[in-house]
Amino acid sequence: MSKREWQVKFVDFVPLYEAGAYTSNEFFWFALPLFDGGSGDQDLWDALPQDVKDCFVTQMKRDVATTDPAGVALAEKLAAVRRVAVR
């Protein structure tokens, strides 16, 4: 997904999230696939609401079972997030 595409999505989603239409975990799952290890990841991280960042931090502290496709996908995405979240 291009930087422009996620910006468009965020413009729509953030107000809905702030209004309560999604839980923090749901917003976490919405944002997670947008991390692709590319140059837009830092901007994406910076744009996340703090309680959604907290969900990422919680997930990054947990062990991820990489014995199934979902676990592998989650581990891949969290690795991309780690690169920008620690800066």
Binding site: L16, G20, T23, S24, N25, W29, P33, A65, P69, A70
Partner: protein
Amino acid sequence: MMALAKQAGVTFPEDVQVFWVKPSQLHNTEGAQAEYSVLQANLGDGRIGNAANLAPNDLVTWESFQNKAGMVPVRISTDLLGSDEAAIAHLAHLAHESHELNGLYNSLEVQGNLMTYSDLNRLVRPVASETGVPLGGVANNLHESAWTYADQVILNWRGH
């Protein structure tokens, strides 16, 4: 619409809040036009995760479904507004979600507000996708009985 639903006897637990969203802003991966807090997530390429990286025996509570304000969001697609019988479509979907959420609330209350993630899936997930992929639900669970309930609400509302 909520007034119509109430008039038709459709009620929700008191901490539920309804939002109208674009179809692309729904979170479920099954193409449903209404949903409440989703504990599954689409990771792309057909890979499904769950919202808190939950293992089958991890515990879920009513609070797992709440937003940061302590409310449980129900989302209805604005696509339904364009249907020939928009009011009926909205009412049916609200009735469906209300049946599931009331049933889930009651089940959690009976079980001390604790349920395993796999039990939750058995209770509220479809049995299988349209292509036959098992989704964790069991026959006659809350999800399936919610459609029977929604049909009954519509029939009653139409005066049958």
